[in-house]
């Protein structure tokens, strides 16, 4: 066996070169203002400081709402025998997978929500799946006997023990929800346009694009970048607590054995949550596709059909572009993420302070592209890559694919890292002794038993790349995409076309999830385990 095949070095180098080009290169202009002091000017300007303060409280309020909704949803799905819980649990990821702007449009239509609290509400709904999904996972991994020994002492103790198991994961999800809300530009912008006018910090950063002062925009982003860095350490600390709390993994705890009345109340509560998070907004958007004026003689279905026909006629190329960007980004991540994750795992398993510190630093650097505001990453990409020598690349489909892979690659990295941790070390050791090539060791023996996670990671990158809006608005080769088409249509006219565009986008985002769920069900029915 040739040494370059068995050695991790060339494969790791290639994978991390891709990460550096996709994620760290566009980040460099964002960190530069830290050293020349220009980025800290925001902290001396009372107006910008006020904007930052408003962004922080709005994000905190969104995160609190996301935690409350997500945790309640998770508990009702996982630990109460609620009728229909399995079906409704599959809906939980949807609000996160949809562009938040669709939720904003729907809730404006449903309840005429306005102002900063409308943005808080929408972003809270959009990010609720983060604490919800993480809490659900923790609740399933609670040691069954730990739950049962509490249950022998009373329901109060069992409930407290259950919540304390889920708390670190829920808080981690809340922290991520906070960062997503703090860096979101499109939702506050949408509600500001509806009046009353208000500003948040991401809008201030975005404002620099209008005067093409990208360097100033990158400098203005520094406070949010620093916030992301600070939050990163909190996230890593919480992740350690999550691992400590999830000591189960064998038999899952039984759901609480409640009576008929309690089940009925739980089912009603779960349906209400599902309605708030996804059913009502989707229903509203669908209904808007066929809305017409009082003098329009056409029926709802006629108007709706016309709207969808317009979408396929006018926005077909935009949807095609979006799919190309997302598929390429997912493919890049699919190939590289196992090597990224394996590098972190090797550092984790090494003894010695230096290796542990190196691993923590690499994990922090790898998470950063996800935590900085997308508009700031867009400025960074323009400043580093929009150069005469790179014109061919900049205008090609590869720039969006690379940027989206850099932005969302960390999701795949951390998901695969967690899946790899679950595979016994001896499986890879046996492959090393057998002289297996390094890619085979990673893919077949380390990741093979967790192949569902690999597809899930690529699927998540695909979905997040497809829903990306902030980055697409800024970087010119990404302008001709479905989400920008939707954004423009929403801001220039509020008609059936916008709603139909939103429904098509929802379907495109939902299809990978539906395919994944169907695949898991098929595997389970054949006795092949739960897969992803």
């Amino acid at each position: 066996m040739r040494s370059w095949l068995t050695s991790p070095l060339p494969w790791q180098a290639l994978a991390w070169l891709l990460f550096a080009a996709a994620a760290w290169l566009p980040l460099t202009p964002l960190l530069a203002p830290l050293f020349d002091g220009s980025g800290l000017a925001a902290l001396a300007d009372p107006r910008l400081l006020g904007l930052l303060g408003r962004t922080l409280w709005m994000s905190a309020a969104s995160a609190v709402l996301a935690i409350a909704l997500g945790l309640a949803y998770a508990v009702l799905c996982v630990r109460v025998r609620t009728p229909g819980a399995r079906l409704l649990e599959t809906l939980l990821p949807l609000p996160l997978l949809l562009p938040p702007l669709i939720l904003a449009q729907a809730w404006f239509g449903l309840a005429e929500l306005r102002g900063p609290w409308a943005a808080v509400f929408t972003l809270g709904l959009a990010t609720a799946p983060l604490p919800g999904l993480l809490a659900a996972r923790s609740l399933r991994r609670q040691q069954a006997s730990a739950h049962e020994s509490a249950l022998l002492c009373g329901p109060g103790l069992a409930l407290r023990e259950m919540l304390s198991t889920a708390a670190p994961a829920t808080l981690l999800g809340g922290l991520l929800a906070f960062f997503l809300a703090a860096s979101d530009f499109a939702v506050p912008d949408y509600f500001a346009v509806q009046q009353p006018l208000f500003h948040v910090y991401a809008m201030e950063i975005f404002g620099h694009s209008r005067s093409a002062s990208y360097a100033d925009g990158a400098a203005a982003a520094l406070p949010l970048v620093l916030l992301g860095l600070a939050g990163l350490f909190g996230a890593l600390a919480l992740q350690r607590r999550v691992r400590a709390a999830e000591v189960g993994g064998g038999r899952a705890p039984q759901p609480f054995d409640t009576g008929f009345a309690a089940k009925a109340v739980a089912a009603a509560a779960l349906l209400t949550l599902a309605g708030l998070l996804i059913l009502l907004p989707l229903g509203r958007i669908l209904q808007e596709t066929g809305n017409s004026g009082p003098l329009d003689p056409r029926s709802w279905s006629e108007v709706s059909r016309t709207a969808f026909a317009q979408v396929f006629e006018r926005a077909r190329s935009d949807f095609r572009n979006s799919l190309s960007f997302a598929l390429l980004a997912a493919a890049l991540v699919f190939l590289a993420a196992p090597f990224w994750a394996h590098a972190l795992l090797r550092l984790e398993r090494r003894s010695g302070t230096l290796a542990r510190l190196g691993g923590a630093a690499l994990a922090a650097a790898a998470a950063l592209p996800l935590l900085v505001p997308a508009v700031a990453l867009g400025f960074g990409a323009i400043l580093t890559l929009d150069r005469p020598g790179l014109r061919g690349f900049y205008d090609s489909v590869w720039l969006p694919a690379l940027l989206l892979a850099g932005r969302y690659g960390p999701i795949a990295l951390f998901l695969l890292l967690e899946r790899m941790r679950a595979v016994p070390e001896a499986q890879e050791d046996a492959a090393v002794l057998a002289g297996a090539a390094y890619p085979a060791r990673v893919a077949r023996y380390r990741l093979g038993p967790q192949a569902g996670g690999w597809w899930l990671a690529a699927g998540l990158v695909f979905v997040f790349a497809l829903r990306e809006l902030d980055l697409n608005i800024l970087v010119s080769p990404m302008n001709h995409s479905a989400s920008v088409r939707y954004y423009n249509a929403l801001h220039f006219s509020r008609d059936n076309f916008v709603a139909a565009c939103g429904v098509v986008l929802c379907l495109l985002l939902w299809l990978p999830l539906a395919a994944g769920t169907a695949w898991r069900a098929l595997r389970a029915s054949r006795g092949g385990g739960s897969g992803a």
Binding site: A144, S145, L152, L157, A244
Partner: protein, 221 residues
């Protein structure tokens, strides 16, 4: 079996898992302060039987009574687990990872209504030789220490029935002997009836009392 009114009684328990009849008319009775050991091949349903007695699982048929009160009948739970006066040391212990050693015990003492929760917990930890570890988290304990903590947590509730599911499994022989000697000492001071699941004939003999076997879903001597 003792002639005093049983604190725990099971009659005609049946449970089918897939095509396997795990319990097929299993019956037993434990008098106050009685000691009994239960053995049987791996996977024969010993742990499931303990879980049914504790109210953590429902049988398909049969009845369980705790202190004379009907607790499970015809596949229905009539008495929830926390009202049966039963405590259990699980095979994988089920310690609460986020709570300290002392909190693991004290929480149970409070939930069982003991006014002297703190003092009783501290005293029991000292008695079991892990008082110095009170502030540690369970994840940092050795196997033997964790088992002693699980025992303290079960005993502090002053249960009428103590179910022990192979409490010293996975320990080396010396640690098993030492652990069992400590268990014997502590059990002498408790009023609880004890049902010990074990594969070790030595443990069953040392415990004293009845030695039952679970075979083909039925309990016999």
């Amino acid at each position: 079996m003792s002639e005093a009114a049983p604190v725990l009684e099971a009659e005609g328990l049946r449970l089918r898992r897939g095509t396997c009849m795990l319990l097929d008319g299993a019956s037993l009775a434990l008098a106050p302060r009685a000691r009994a050991a239960l053995s049987g091949p791996s996977g024969c349903g010993k742990t499931t039987l303990l879980r049914i007695l504790a109210g953590l699982e429902r049988p398909d048929a049969g009845r369980v009574a705790c202190r004379g009160v009907s607790a499970t009948a015809d596949g229905r739970l009539l008495l929830p687990p926390w009202k049966r006066g039963v405590q259990m040391v699980f095979q994988d212990l089920g310690l609460w990872p986020a709570r300290s050693v002392l909190q693991n015990v004290e929480d149970v003492a409070r939930a069982s209504g003991r006014g002297d929760a703190r003092a009783a917990s501290v005293g029991l930890l000292e008695r079991l030789g892990i008082g110095a570890l009170a502030d540690r988290k369970p994840g940092t304990l050795s196997g033997g220490e964790a088992r002693r903590l699980a025992l303290a947590r079960a005993l502090v509730a002053r249960p009428a029935v103590l179910l022990l599911d192979e409490p010293f499994a996975s320990l080396d022989p010396d640690a098993r002997r030492a652990g069992f000697a400590l268990l014997e000492e502590v059990l002498r001071e408790t009023a609880a009836a004890v049902l010990l699941v074990t594969h070790d004939p030595w443990e069953a003999e040392r415990l004293g009392g009845a030695h039952w076997f679970l075979r083909e879903g039925k309990i016999g001597a």
